[in-house]
Amino acid sequence: MNAQNVDAPSAYFLAEVSNEIETHTLSLLVDNEPGVLARVIGLFSGRGYNIDSLTVSETEHEKHLSRITIVTTGTPMIIEQIRHQLDRLVPVHRVTDLTVRAKRANQDKPLERELALVKVAGMGEKRLEALRLGDAFRTTVIDATTEHFVFEITGRTSKIEQFISIMKPLGLVEVSRTGVAAVQRGPEGL
């Protein structure tokens, strides 16, 4: 009987129940009004959910709508809860679990990109090696002196993690990351 009901809008089905921890990317369309981010973050801290990454910016200026992208981890039951709890907030227009959407479309993951600014300081061979690797990772140098570079790198979280860890022995000074922005593949919107 669970199978018959797979398309009901908000069910999480017994047959699929697992206690495995999964990582999901949620996309929220919200009114850009004071306090909306506090409501979202407060929900996560108040109910003990995890936030791995969170990005927010106004995306539709005329309608004052912002898009929030949250990467979170939990069991499927918890992630389903998170989605419904977010959807319950009054200024939230829509919540989409992009990871579930991607799975339904037989895709591995939604499109996810992150940008990082990576500052590396050093002289001699290390400096050259950093620059070579920067090229290999298709980064852009956006600031430099004879003692340092600032690399701008975009890509999936895993690529950025990898670049940062390679830069560590080459004089990594600091990193600033945007967090994940994500959309689903294909022509449809949220």
Binding site: Y12, G35, A38, M77, H84, R88, V90
Partner: protein, 591 residues
């Protein structure tokens, strides 16, 4: 209607346009402009409480007993923070509550001004939504939206925080929109349930051998029609029905199919039926931990249907097989219609066997207690109160503790909206202001707060409110000089070490009633009880009724923490040893 007026005038106008007739409040610096309008108008009655928490609970009592939103008005800073308990209470019990708070002028916000606090920040997690109004022209829209959000979908509390300069400023008032649900840009709860799912539920019901209806406060929130449809569904199907604390009255306690309340202090038959059923239909309830007991042993062999207006209630603690998102009245209407039109019938033979089983559990008589002719047993006191008030229009509120559970077990509720109790938050001090709220809305009714000697002292100051406004609420105190439920848990969990659960130096409640301008009674013998209750009812003034009950009685039956529904501790088995060993090591860390 469009008209120029001040922010303070807008507040009054919007309340009237929303059909509000009563508000509960307490003045202060940041709401003086609104109070200046209150005294210059008619049609909106203001009940002056003695503490803002009282205003909140009174508004809840008003809301629960009428089905309309309750309204409270408080000042900034401490006025708003005193309101937090009532807001949280309304949040957990889904009570529609509109709280209007004053705020320091906009140019002082963030300056640590006198009586300033971040009201929207503090109340964000304990409200359904809240607003800080920075521009008077936004005020009418926000006020109307506040009523829409508080009352629609799963109801709840909202706060509108209005800085003092916005109350003085002049702007354009606009009346409410005729169809706020369609007009709202993001909040539009789903009312109708999915038709295919409802049909599937009906078919599951027809096929069930051991069904049970498990109902909650959502049925009452959905309105009288939902309760009517629920009764119809029970009579059509012949299914047994139990309810949570919040749902009492949706189905009459005198009904043939009534099993009594379920959960931690529910009846044996209700909990055993839940445990052994093969189909559970949860209607407007939320599988709270006081209901489920040990979740991994909760009703292990049943398929579960869950009807709820709030999608976040689905699969929160218990996985269900068939969720139906929608308003209870809408869903039940469809369910009853499908049941009739498809000529569905419950399995008569299976139902007969099921009821035979249930009757065996009933025969266990799990609410039994030993009568006593010398001291008043608390259960007996509630039974007598029930017998002597059941033919009247009576509203019962409670505080929190043993007396609350005894009231739920022994007072039979026939109609919805007549039972006002703090279920989710468990707020001691709820009952007296809630009774005041109910009495305000139902002047001719008998409003009784069944209280404990500890709880009543948490908002005793509201006696003064009751006297001032001629609200003859009756406070029926089961006085055992203990925080009885705390003591019961200390006996169960902490080796009978009664740390600070005995109240020395209780006030003389008779003198206290007198001091407030009410009437006091004290009864110590079972034989005097009936006469005193009748006298209490006859008095047209607020009453403190000091009913001295057996001090050490505990509340049974009980599902000890960490145990399943079929592991109840029954009153006749609850000897000292059983009580001391009822809870295992894992259960001890649970609340």
């Amino acid at each position: 209607m469009t008209r120029e007026m001040t922010g303070a005038e807008m507040v009054i106008q919007a309340l009237k346009d929303q059909g509000v007739d009563t508000i509960f409040g307490y003045p202060g610096g940041a709401v003086l402009p609104i109070y200046d309008e209150i005294i210059q108008q008619e049609g909106l009655e203001h009940i002056l409480v003695r503490h803002e928490q009282g205003a909140g609970h009174a508004a809840e009592g008003y809301a629960r007993s009428t089905g309309k939103p309750g309204v409270a008005l408080v000042t900034s800073g401490p006025g708003a923070t005193n309101m937090v308990t009532a807001l949280t209470d309304a949040m957990l019990d889904s009570i529609p509550l509109v709280c209007i708070s004053g705020q320091v002028p906009t140019h002082l916000i963030g300056n640590d001004a006198f009586q300033e606090c971040d009201t929207v920040g503090i109340t964000r997690p304990c409200t359904k939504h809240n607003w800080l109004v920075r521009d008077v022209d936004d005020l009418p829209r926000i006020l109307h939206e506040a009523f829409y959000v508080a009352t629609s979908g799963r109801p709840g509390p909202v706060v509108v925080d209005i800085p003092k300069d916005v109350q003085f400023a002049t702007g354009t008032y606009q009346g409410p929109t005729p169809n706020p649900a369609a007009a709202h840009k993001s909040y539009r709860p789903q009312m109708k349930g999915d038709a295919a799912s409802i049909r599937m539920a009906a078919e599951m019901m027809a096929a069930a051998k051991k069904p049970v209806l498990y109902t909650g406060g959502g049925v009452i929130n959905s309105g009288p029609q939902a309760c009517q449809l629920l009764r119809e569904l029970v009579s059509l199907t012949g299914f047994p029905i139990t309810s949570t604390l919040m749902g009492l009255g949706a189905y009459p306690a005198s009904g043939d199919n009534w099993l009594g309340m379920l959960g931690m202090h529910g009846t044996y038959e209700a909990n055993m039926t839940m445990h052994d059923c093969d189909l559970m239909i949860c209607i407007g309830a939320r599988f709270d931990d006081r209901i489920t007991g040990r979740t991994d042993a909760f009703s292990p062999n049943s398929r579960k249907v869950h009807i709820d207006i709030d999608p976040s209630s689905i699969n929160k603690t218990i996985n269900v097989d068939l969720p139906i998102i929608g308003d209870v009245a809408h869903v039940l209407e469809d369910l009853v219609r499908i049941w009739r039109s498809s000529s569905l019938k419950s399995d008569a033979k299976a139902m007969k066997d099921w009821w035979t089983q249930i009757d065996q559990w009933r025969a266990r008589n799990s609410l039994a207690y030993k009568p006593n002719s010398d001291v008043i047993m608390p259960q007996y006191a509630i039974q007598r109160l029930y017998e002597l008030t059941k033919h009247r229009k009576t509203f019962i509120s409670t505080e929190v503790g043993q007396h609350q559970m005894w009231a739920a077990q022994f007072y039979g509720f026939e109609e919805p909206n007549h039972w006002l109790t703090s279920g989710g938050l468990g707020t001691m001090g709820y009952g007296l202001p809630a009774a005041i709220g109910a009495q305000t809305a139902h002047r001719d009714a008998l409003c009784v707060d069944i209280a404990g000697d500890a709880s009543i002292l948490m908002n005793i100051q509201e006696m003064s409110t009751a006297v001032q406004f001629g609200l003859p609420v009756k406070v029926f105190i089961l006085n055992n000089q203990y925080m009885g439920m705390v003591r019961q848990w200390q006996q169960l969990l902490h080796g009978n070490r009664l740390s600070h659960s005995y109240t020395d130096s209780l006030p003389d409640f008779v003198k206290l009633a007198d001091a407030y301008g009410g009437v006091g009674f004290r009864v110590e013998k079972p034989g005097d009880l009936d006469g005193a209750i009748e006298e209490m009812i006859a008095v047209d003034k607020p009453v403190l009724f000091d009913c001295r009950v057996a001090n050490l009685t505990n509340c049974f039956p009980m599902i000890p923490s960490g145990k399943a529904h079929n592991e109840m501790l029954l009153p006749d088995e609850a000897n000292d040893e059983a009580v001391a060993n009822a809870i295992s090591a894992e259960g001890k860390s649970l609340v």
